[in-house]
Amino acid sequence: MKSPLQKTYDVVVVGGGPAGLAAALGAGEAGAEDILIVDRETEAGGILNQCIHSGFGLHHFKEELTGPEYAERFIQSVLSRQVTILTDSYVMNIAPDLHIEVISGDYGHLEVQAKSVVLAMGCRERTRGAIRTPGFRPAGVMTAGLAQKMVNMKGLLPGRRIAILGSGDIGLIMARRLMLEGCEVVGVYELMPFSNGLTRNLVQCLDDFAIPLRLSTTVAFIHGRDRVQRLTMAPVDDQLMPILNQSWQVACDTLLLSIGLIPENELSTRLRLKMDPATGGPQVTSTLETSLPGVFACGNVLHVHDLVDFVTEEALRAGRFAAEVAQGRRRPGDNISLQTGENIASCVPHSLSPDREQVVYLRVKRPLKDCVLTIGDRYEKVFRMLIPSEMIRLTLGPEILDRYFGEHLKIEVHPGEVA
């Protein structure tokens, strides 16, 4: 039974992945009464439904779950509260007064008014167009996440002899998955001189199956008129340009691309939210509120996460703060702005408040060994190893922050200064 839809909600959550589900839970815990989650898919759970491998929930549930298990546990606890989940429904537009337009499979065109909104639209994969690989345009070139959905949910194989470009976790996990499905994975190729995947996945997904990983390598040309027939592979120089006179040929019928994720922010840009070019997501305050009061963001739409547990933690907070605003409670604004300095690629949130403990997520620009991370002049932490693909999570207490009233705080990493 679907509960009847209302015209107004305290909190409307756009997207029902782990971020949206946790945001709804957080909003409910903070006292919001009417909460609506809208998701365009047939079921809530987002990307987790297709991630059938284990590796989720070690922080949150203290056990290692598969993606679908993590999603189902969350959906159960959300449904036990007064939350309505509207699936098969696409949020078309959010107006600055938080009037929301939805196209729904069951209800047709719908309009609802929110007191506050949580953006949790996740991200999508970069495609061939993003890297402009030369060659023909045959069938058999697709993103790794699409292949994952085909194999794990629809029972379709993308091909038989498979090459994978990009060594992030999605590419590695699909390499193993396709080997188990009886395909041949000819190799995983990575443009950068290092892999972006977890070492653990290099071992259990590639080494276990003797799949070769070639670093500093790219696809220089895609051959085949109707279907992929072979690839010209080439090593790259310091500028990441292919060295064509050292190229070689790889026979395969499928090329999977695992070349990065882009936060899905069409709704945010239409709302003219202030964006951060480094994360591809909106700029947010310490309460995860965007530049438009009443609109919050969390999960992959805010910045690309690698651990669902961090998504959950962030989204619980976003939901809680969204509920406060919906109930007319406002915290004092932030008074410290965070700035990325040396070796820091991005940070979220973009400002802090010294009145409570703050969680800051960071990424470094390049792999760094034995380094010191500093925030302003009162915080220092030593790291043995930092890599761009592993997000750093820090908590900063009032005792560190209360001296910086009205200031810019710079975050930096200095390599090799450990005694």
Binding site: T66, G155, Q204
Partner: protein, 126 residues
Amino acid sequence: MVEKINLTCLGCPMGCPLQLSIVDGEIREVTGYECKRGEAYAKQEYTDPRRMVSTTVSCPTGLWPRLPVKTVDPVPKDRVPAVVQTLHTLEVKAPIRMGQIILENVAGTGVTVIATRSLPEMPEAD
């Protein structure tokens, strides 16, 4: 003669680099782990390497035609292909509950396979 072996702990996403010192085929010392599980992992991996398996089984009547499943305990690494092949010949009927036992003693490993999601029946087209 002390033989040194390097392993990566698969116990959690930290992936600690482990060093094993082996004397006469016996582990003398393990270093490099951040938590106790790493030490246990090293011993297990050296004497009897095992892996968790997650894959799908056919469920033609389900909302999706594939049901994701996993082994509740790790199976011997060299039995992984056999486990997957056995599961690929299986067909189950919706509705399925998360945690429901799909197969016991898969491929003679003594390990149980369970469903990792609930799968309702495909609604009739109206």
